[in-house]
């Protein structure tokens, strides 16, 4: 059988931490504590690396401009931020799958204070969106077009899709093992070795920020990058 990446599970991580703490069996550190630290570390990595990204489809309501996170993210809670909103329109009651192109465009994000200065008249198709107090607003306010106000796809980042106390494999491969450093920092806080804890936390944050840049900060390709330079003029 060909080898493949083996996701870390809680027991593997616990064994490793106990090995590094030189405490193979629970004396100072209980398994419950270590599990809590692993889960907390996983949650921090998930939040700070922006590694969990999802899409949901929402049917807008005629005459309703604002939709709270609580009503939008019922299936996958704990959305952190919404990155983009794609307006797909819609003239039938069939919910379009987000991967199928049926026309539409991404809305432009604005600040709520800009709503009243919208160049688009009320009643026209949505052009803008905003995020205010965990509420998504659409402007101009959706109206009925062919029977429906239209669908939007929300691209958002979320946390806590992993199963607590079971696995940390909800993280991408390269982020799973970073959690170890966080756990070691917590363990050393308990034993009051604060400078050591500080060192482990520095290592943890160093890795985390490094990976965040790689995973999250991805620039677009400029036009120049798509064209091979012409050296023939120097021949």
């Amino acid at each position: 059988m060909a080898y493949a990446f083996t996701d870390l599970v809680l027991s593997t991580m616990t064994t490793r931490v106990r090995s590094m703490l030189n405490e193979p069996n629970a004396l100072i550190f209980t398994d419950t504590e270590i599990t809590d630290w692993i889960n907390r570390g996983t949650n921090i990595v998930m939040k700070d690396s922006k590694c969990k990204r999802n899409i949901i489809t929402k049917l807008l309501t005629n005459g309703t401009a604002e939709y709270s996170y609580a009503t939008l993210f019922t299936a996958t809670p704990n959305a952190i931020t919404v990155e983009a909103v794609f307006y797909a329109g819609g003239t039938t009651a069939t919910v379009p799958a987000p991967q199928v192109v049926s026309g539409g465009y991404c809305l432009e994000k604005i600040h709520p204070r800009q709503i009243t200065t919208s160049p688009h008249a009320a009643g026209s198709a949505p052009r803008f969106w905003y995020d205010r107090n965990d509420t998504i607003g659409i402007s101009p306010t959706p109206t009925t077009a062919g029977g429906l106000a239209g669908y939007v796809f929300l691209y958002y980042e979320n946390e806590n899709l992993f199963v607590p106390n079971t696995t940390i494999n909800a993280l991408p491969n390269h982020l799973q093992e970073v959690v170890t450093w966080y756990v070691l920092a917590q363990a050393n806080i308990k034993t009051k070795r604060y400078s050591v804890a500080n060192m482990f936390m520095s290592i943890f944050m160093n890795y985390l920020m490094f990976y965040r840049q790689d995973y999250f900060a991805k620039p677009v390709d400029s036009a120049d990058m798509m064209t091979a330079p012409d050296y023939t003029q120097f021949a």
């Binding site: 030189n22 999802n54 983009a84 465009y105 991404c106 994000k109 060192m199 990976y211 798509m226």
Partner: protein, 243 residues
């Protein structure tokens, strides 16, 4: 052939720890640190290039008329995407390099998002999904087995283990290049010294590891991202400075 096999690497570690036979550190512990270090160094130096080829057959998530496809590889970084669409004379068999966009660009400009039966031009990535726009539809894409329409994603992934099996050959494949194997020793030592409470040594070896790994990233990965500019093919004109 690797500079060191896994067994040789562990021997090197034990030599540096001055513990040739397992007493304080078990073989399993050191093996675990070596595997961990291998994965870590691949994340920093981006030394494991890989690609994911997604065919457009009926069993694939990239079917005609779909914009989005799930990637099978957990990429750390995607550097290029090409698409080969059959059924169109202009694009048959020739991969097209796609341009990366921001998600907000989608649906703006020409061709419109509704345009289909055109060659794809752009892509963007959201989570583990890649979006290709315009999406091929109808006659512009045919199934694998005919002309082989397919999407290829190029990037870098996490290493799996220091050595692992190619099919049928135990321990035959090494994810980390030879040049990084010595650097890996620093990571293993940094982890090992945590157990002894010699934290200043942990700090010393971890700093060495990070510096070497990042230097390799600059030397290899980042230098490959830089192309030659036209200026580099011209002899500088200094005649204006003469006299």
């Amino acid at each position: 052939m690797a500079l060191y096999t896994k067994a040789q690497m562990l021997t090197q570690v034990r030599e540096l720890l001055n513990e040739p036979v397992a007493l304080f550190w078990t073989d399993a512990e050191l093996d675990n640190y070596l595997c961990w270090g291998t994965r870590t160094i691949s994340g920093i130096s981006l030394c494991v290039p890989t690609s994911d080829v997604i065919y457009s057959d009926v069993n694939s998530s990239w079917a005609a008329g779909t914009l989005q496809v799930q990637m099978a590889v957990d990429f750390i970084k995607v550097t290029a995407v090409t698409v080969c669409v059959s059924g169109n004379a202009s694009f048959d068999g020739t991969p097209i390099q796609l341009q990366r966009l921001d998600i907000r660009n989608f649906g703006h400009g020409a061709p419109a998002a509704t345009a289909t039966d055109q060659a794809p031009q752009w892509y963007y990535i959201w989570g583990d999904r890649i979006f290709v726009w315009p999406c091929p539809k109808g006659t512009t894409i045919s199934a694998q087995g005919s002309d082989g329409g397919y999407l290829t994603v190029y990037g870098y992934r996490t290493a799996w283990d220091y050595d692992h099996e190619a099919v049928g050959v135990a321990g035959s494949t090494y994810d980390v290049p030879d040049r990084l194997q010595a650097c890996l020793l620093d990571f293993v030592l940094a982890c090992a010294y945590v157990k002894t409470g010699k934290y200043s040594l942990t700090r010393y070896h971890m700093a060495n590891f990070m510096q070497n790994a990042q230097m390799d990233r600059r030397d290899v990965f980042e230098s490959n991202q830089i192309v030659d500019s036209l200026d580099r093919f011209m002899i500088p004109d200094r005649t204006q400075q003469a006299g």
